[in-house]
Subunit: 253 residues, 8 copies
């Protein structure tokens, strides 16, 4: 692979007449990418996207997770392990005692070497008690990435006054995450009350015609309220990430 | 077929000894139904179900509709023609000038010979302007069957205050019909505000992930608010019928 | 939060000149809701909706359920715990011995302090033996809320005479709940025989093309018989609740 | 291709020593089929399956249909053209005046040269007026193939007595075809009343959650009544064919 | 309920003047059915349908199954317990040692008191080894009801010669059951080779886009070969029942 | 309705002793909302949400659209008419010549009285030429609301270098809208290249297994790249609105 | 953009000391792609993929198609216009008389300047007459790209001998395309008979449970025969392209 | 069955007058197939298809698998056991110690007696770590059948440079297998970079709207890149088989 150092050396050799022009052209030709060392997984994601990579643990072995986590910790970068079940978490923690684990959010993490100040407000709203794991995954993710997060839980539309009551808090948010299973109507109601973008997360909470989250997913996609972006069913991490990105934009400019 | 008159005559003949017991037993044996003239379509539906039969026009020829309508009018019973498109309606009206037609609700009808007093309040709530045809079908059906109907239209959840504003009216209803397309969240919000049963009608209004009404249908079935009964997509007639039935029960006892 | 007592006190202070008009306006301004203490979960649901709130146990921890149940019992209100599995039930009962548990219906409950007289008849009809848990959930729910409930079980359409036989009972009902899995045809057959509203509950009983209840759900939504309101698959609680609401309307006016 | 005449001739030549064994083996080797002239489309289907081939007109050009029809007529075999729309039918009839057309059933046909006696009773039951085209397609198909067909139309489950009334007729059938759209419950009800096999045809009649026939299709597949075989949505031809096959079996043995 | 005895007594009392005509009319009016004792579950199913009722064990408790089985055995009728898992089977057999159990077909059964002669040939064809349980359920069901059954297993279309090889056997059948998972193509291939009706059973064998049997279900419904009736996914019992019914018709006339 | 003026007057009357405390408590009790004049549709949406309301034209009559448009123009607010077909557009323009129409984006609009400066960059990326209408709807919406919009069209993943080529532009964006039909893979590829939030819009462009946009919708929801919010199929307006909201947040703080 | 000429010039300037090493490194840094002029749409697709790009006409305006076609013709490359309807085709041909049009295959095309010799055999097999357009699209595509194509049409599985008859032809193919609607079983049957890869194309031909091609799509994906690759419903072009690619590989090595 | 020996003997007997012509005609008539011994399962699959049969273990008992494996080993042919779980594998290995097992790929196998030289390059590309089992199944299958396989794992589109980096390797492949779950976008990206056919395998890796692999399945079917053939979800074996077939074609001609 051609990185910046190697390219510089080659050019110097061209200048010095120790390397032909044709040789350099040939070496640069084939890969239509990445001449400047763009590729190292865990050190460049932040450069390109502004945030480090997280590790989705579902479908990976404990050994694979530990190896990836060790490498990220070694780089001094923030470590986030998502969908980490308790059994695997304890294996990871035995190998890497620096890793902390939140069983409700199913997140393992280790803060980066450099401290970050949390700025801007993300409000995470959830409809029911059973939606808490996804809501906590969103809230904790936003916090780990550098946002402040307020939690507004159990405010389902069956008692609409509960969410209306939180109007002042909602108006202060720079991004709102709405987490709802069952029929998922909360996203539209909240969306109609706020000025900022809403990230809607359908959950698989419910039964029958909920179809493991399809019900609230369709509700959120069909919302008559503009300004709502939907993420995958139960994707609390993605919601927290997107909300932080929106909040972060407000901060950094 | 054995109707009440015939049965009475037979029994009198038995009493008079002009007919054997065995003959009557034999005549009553084979058909496990309908011994009392129960079968005449348009005169007995009201006896059994309390309401007359309506004619679903979709899939029927104009000639078939006219023939059925003429027979119902002749019986003095209420005539309701549902899903009657304007072109067919004008054919029907040429043949049967007594039939009235509401193009918005796509209903043809003729009031029964005996006047009825409308009693009890059914409130029909709709989310958007495009839901009006289904909402009108529900409201007019309830009125034709004998309920008073109040209309509360265009109160979608994007501006939640609009429906909250109607709280006093909603609290007075004996049955509420909620008509909503898009994400259909209105049913849950209204359901959380009323004391009476709610009949929810998903409509096929929307696009994309609405899937011709599947979106709001799932929303309504999954509602976290108990007390909601759902009817088929775009089934304004069924909703008005059910709401009247609920309202009527309150009146008649 | 502003409740009635507080508002009364404020107004008296205004009258007495001990509080300015501007201060009261300011305190009432921001939350567009709930000035009269409307928000306390378990004491005001009954005021607004006429019935208390039930607790859906699925997705909640035992600790959360116990805490909610204790609070509702303390308020003297009816406690209903739905979808309560036996293991959790015994944890709840250890903490709260006053709670009774019906394993068939999967309902935990405690009657309210004030005795209620059961009035009006809800008939719960079920197609097969395997539908019993959902049917019992509906019947017991209606009874707990204050309806009398008659059970008419195992009358599937394979032997149509079984349901026809119950015609007199069905005609006496103020609301009928039909619980059916497999193809769910029973709802239409019963709907064609009664004068009162029918609440149809599809169950997930069946296999193959039943698709965990989608088959009977579609059957019930597509019914050619008007007067049927459908609730979610396996939602016995919702069906009993809605049937009681309909029955109750008949009683209270 | 090797047909029976040719094979016989070859064998005689072998016997006469005018043809070598090796030559015959070679000629029979390559095609793993059809050595006896089995392949001629329209003359051998009847030999193998007992009934001739029908022509599905949907997706074929008028010219293709005329060419196929002419060939079948020339063979003296029964011609059946299914799903033939009126416009194409008139083109076909101009080219082949012997072809008759039933616009309700959308069937074009010409009886075979040899007269057939219709035997055995197929009863075709339909739920609603809008199901008539599919029901007629089934009934006429059964008749064309050689069954007697009785029609029992508009006996939907909303008035269950209508079908019960036909109990004696149903008990006489050797095969019953049930045609139903909407929720398709009629198949189960009829299935529970008869001794013979039932062929169930879901139709696309309905709207909303009918999903163009998926609703009644699932109903029929999930039927709690054994003895029902289901064919594709709107497949009146297939139903009439299968019913005739069942009826025919009864006759021929 | 009004049975023949009671009706006869009433009529005699009328004749004797001990009962008024009006009283009899009133007593006969309300139930639109069943005046002659048409109803007893387990003794009349055979009368009406020609075959006794089977017990679907899934979703029933062991106690319920034992009670039902005992009652059927006591009546001297054939007992068939479908979808009976091994654990429940051993409970049933401990209570009712006369019950036999076939673990492959998951059928429990006890032959009726009167011996029956098996007549007519049902051929059960299956595509793969994993389809055996459903195929055996079909074959054993047909045998228990009174058909002879031939088994032709593991003849999937990947090696088409295997099923072609069985052409003579297939041509002798009075009904063929085709059991296939994966893509379910076998039904069409077999359907094209036989003269008799084909009963097609999709199975849930497969993975991915098989969708638990939806793949072969659609294949069978869409078959370009007429003469195929489809039953529910994995419904071996229903297939055997229908095949026997078809075969039986051939025998009995 | 209770607004601030009325409340102030009441309180003054209380202070003056001309109004009882009980009367004020009663008047404030029933509606749990909206005491401060929160409700007027078109003048308060901007106050609450920061942006005015748009009019979805699909399902509305021309007369309804003209009436709504006239009222919004009269208020001096920005008018946006979405999904406006050309025929209706010309009717609207005849009535309201100030309305402009973009046939590609199917948007009618009239800029507000107060000029706005477009700030911040929204990049709209589309995969294929056929996606242009939705992409233009998004871009023009963002511009009308006050964002600058850059268009990057026809950069589908079949030639991945086309989108990689735009890396510098993408890195400058404050929000990116990705519009893609077919398989919708572009959203993930773009998402992996940018620092800002991505709004993904699946389109119904494609055929077969595209299922009118379901294919790309699932692709986008399942993206392995975090930071993507999905809107409804073909919802260019919603995407432009959300992208503007995100961009606007960056500007305003 | 950096192409080979420019890079060479830069390197020569570095060698000559007229350009600094740092300047070249900076110019090469930002775009992670395409330094060597890799990007020109229509001239490089063949270099990278071995075949030129085709134009999907659906969703494009006539003007857009003409512009793209003109540009491709000007480059001397093969022009293929897919899904071109007759009306648009005649517009294109008026503008570009060199374009030929096959209405059955809905393909517009112009052969490239350099003649190509067709090599290797692709056999296109179709089940029914109605599948011809898709089959022709596949066959003509393969021919245009440089394969010989044999057509084997109307060999559906209802008469299995028809396809078995073609065994010798099928064994000679280097790639086989199977085009089938209805139940799509032909793919498995053919797949079991050949040595070469099979490309399966489901078509939307059929009705009811065909679901516009979903039926045969699932059949083909679930095939028990390995060696089958499936393309999108009705995607004759993609099938011909893939079959040619497979055939071409055989030729070129 | 009639094989060549038997046919020759018959013909000789005809020639010798020891067998009548009629007898031979009769014996050849009924089976429309297979006169030349085309049939033996495990010895002829390779003859007809060029590759031996594999055993799908899912749904088979250990005993069935052992019996089939023993028979294949005895024939000297390659044994491949797919979807073999570890527990069953150890039972098989106890019975047949020659069988090797790869737990990652879930493949049991035994190389054939005759050694094969691996030729041609199949590249297996996978998106994520969790896709490894399916990718390994594909790679090992291709190797067992006789291809060389290169593995290129964990190159998901979130970091597009990772796959672009492998451009030279991809260009050398004769067939590429792309294995991807989540949104499955990798297939299109890789498809756009290679000259050879691509075999795409959707996996069930993911959650929510992934729907157990439906998401990536649709993505791959809808790909805007021609030259991609899709196999069933998680069907690594089928993908490896097809890729080998394509590669093998290149080699053998």
């Amino acid at each position: 692979m051609v990185n910046e150092q190697r390219l510089t050396r080659w050019l110097r050799e061209v200048r010095a007449g120790r390397r032909t022009v044709a040789a350099v052209v040939r070496d640069l030709r084939h890969p239509p990418i990445d001449h400047l060392g763009f590729a190292q997984l865990d050190t460049h994601r932040r450069l390109r996207r502004g945030l480090p990579e997280a590790v989705l643990c579902e479908g990976k072995t404990s050994a694979q997770i530990v190896r990836l986590a060790r490498r990220i910790i070694a780089s001094g970068e923030l470590l986030v392990l998502t969908r980490l079940d308790p059994a695997t978490a304890s294996v990871v923690q035995q190998a890497l005692p620096a890793v902390r684990y939140d069983p409700m959010a199913r997140l393992g993490y280790r803060l980066p070497a450099h401290r970050l100040t949390r700025r801007g407000l993300v409000v995470v709203v959830s409809a029911g008690t059973a939606d808490l794991p996804v809501a906590e995954e969103a809230a904790l993710t936003a916090e780990l990435l550098g946002s402040r997060a307020a939690r507004l839980y159990d405010v389902g539309v069956a008692g609409i006054h509960r969410v209306l009551n939180a109007f002042p808090l909602l108006q202060r948010a720079r991004a709102v995450v709405v987490v709802a299973g069952m029929e998922g109507a909360l996203a539209s109601v909240v969306g109609g009350l706020v000025r900022c973008p809403v990230v809607a997360v359908p959950t698989s909470i419910g039964y029958g015609a909920n179809f493991a989250g399809v019900g609230p997913l369709l509700t959120m996609l069909n919302s008559c309220v503009p300004g709502i972006g939907v993420v995958n069913i139960d994707n609390g991490f993605g919601a927290g990430y997107l909300a932080h990105l929106i909040n972060h934009a407000s901060n950094s400019r």
